[in-house]
């Protein structure tokens, strides 16, 4: 074993982390090499010296300050799962609210005209219900249906209501 390699491995030798085979080899070299043995002794002395450096204790309020800073950290609750989708959720709620508002608002002008026309038709239909109560007229309608329209006489339009004659 050469001096250079022994020097490189002296730290592992001194801290007891060297394998047994290498350790025996190093010890053998140290026995026959005063220079390496002297260096090993110096390293050993340095190790002892480093133990003289005092250990300091953290100041009195150290733990309290750490706990205070930890407590100041934002806590993540179960609702935090939604956090990344907050804008999406807000948009969805806004869209629903808008839909409900549109559906419930009073009808505007085109819708009003259409509704008025429908109401008039319904009123006429209700007014014609009185015709159905006229039993004689209803029974005679079968006889009218047996009439065969002539070729030069057009079929009466369905809109031609018999009740109009009554009016």
């Amino acid at each position: 074993m050469k001096c250079e390699r022994v020097s490189q491995e002296l730290i592992a030798y001194l801290d007891g982390r060297m394998g047994s085979a290498e350790r025996r080899e190093t010890e053998e070299h140290l026995r026959g090499c005063p220079a390496c043995r002297g260096r090993a002794e110096e390293f050993r002395g340095i190790w002892s010296m480093l133990d003289e450096v005092p250990v300091i204790e953290p100041s009195f309020g150290f733990d309290a300050r750490v706990r205070q800073r930890v407590a100041a950290q934002p806590r993540r609750g179960w609702f935090a799962w939604f956090a990344p989708q907050a804008r999406l959720a807000f948009s969805a709620v806004l869209l629903i609210a808008l839909t409900v508002w549109v559906a419930k608002r009073p009808a505007s002008s085109p819708g009003t005209l259409r509704t008025a026309a429908t109401t008039e038709q319904d009123f006429n239909a209700i007014k014609d219900l009185g015709v159905l109560e006229n039993y004689d007229l209803v029974t005679k309608m079968d006889a009218l249906s047996e009439l065969v329209p002539s070729a030069d006489q057009p079929m009466p339009k369905p809109e031609a209501k018999p009740t109009e004659s009554n009016d």
Binding site: I11, D15, G16, F43, R44, I46, M49
Partner: protein, 196 residues
């Protein structure tokens, strides 16, 4: 740490109690300022707490903890390097006024002056402080935290071979710097295990 990850705050208190002292001492020896060391230690604990949900036990907790601490210390040292450059070479080593010795005093003079315990400790601290940051971190983790090579290599993000080389250079530098203080009456027969 897994309990902390699961939301057990009392386990975090346990980690705080167990590791505050080694962490503050490690950081103090790295940055050489007590107040800065404590601030950095608080930051480290806070980072541990913040990262608890993402913690994966792929390595020992101490490896993870000291990796965070080492990065914090190296950043702090680099940020404040210009301040240290302005400190006098002969200024006493203290919390507010510390320096990095760039030249060793004559052996005879230092032996006479530093036989007093306080001065001797100060001299040793100066020697440690004079090491380059990465070498210093390697020595502190190796000597004071008693980490094995694999752990230190992970903390410093290097190979074990590179770490051994780093440690050798660091101890060799300390050997030269601390030579005036080496007790020549140390017992013969090196290699009888780790010195206590």
């Amino acid at each position: 740490m897994l309990d902390v990850k699961a939301g057990d705050d009392s386990s975090f208190d346990f980690l705080l109690t167990k590791y505050r002292s080694p962490l503050v001492n490690f950081l103090y020896r790295m940055v050489r300022d007590r107040a800065t060391a404590e601030d950095l230690a608080q930051d480290v604990f806070l980072r541990v707490y913040r990262a608890r949900k993402e913690y994966i036990p792929s390595a020992k907790f101490t490896t993870w903890l000291f990796r965070i601490a080492t990065n914090a210390a190296l950043n702090s040292v680099r940020d404040n390097r210009h301040q240290r450059m302005e400190v006098s070479l002969d200024a006493p080593l203290g919390d507010e006024q510390e320096s990095v010795p760039r030249d060793l005093p004559a052996r005879e003079k230092r032996i006479d002056e530093h036989l007093v315990e306080r001065d001797r400790v100060e001299f040793i601290q100066r020697a440690i402080a004079s090491l380059p940051e990465k070498q210093r971190a390697a020595v502190l983790l190796h000597k004071y935290e008693e980490m094995d090579y694999a752990e230190i290599a992970k903390v410093l993000d290097c190979t074990e071979a590179a770490l051994k080389s780093l440690l050798f250079r660091a101890y060799e530098s300390l050997r030269v710097q601390l030579a005036p203080l080496v007790d020549r009456s140390a017992p013969e027969g090196a290699g009888e295990g780790r010195p206590s």
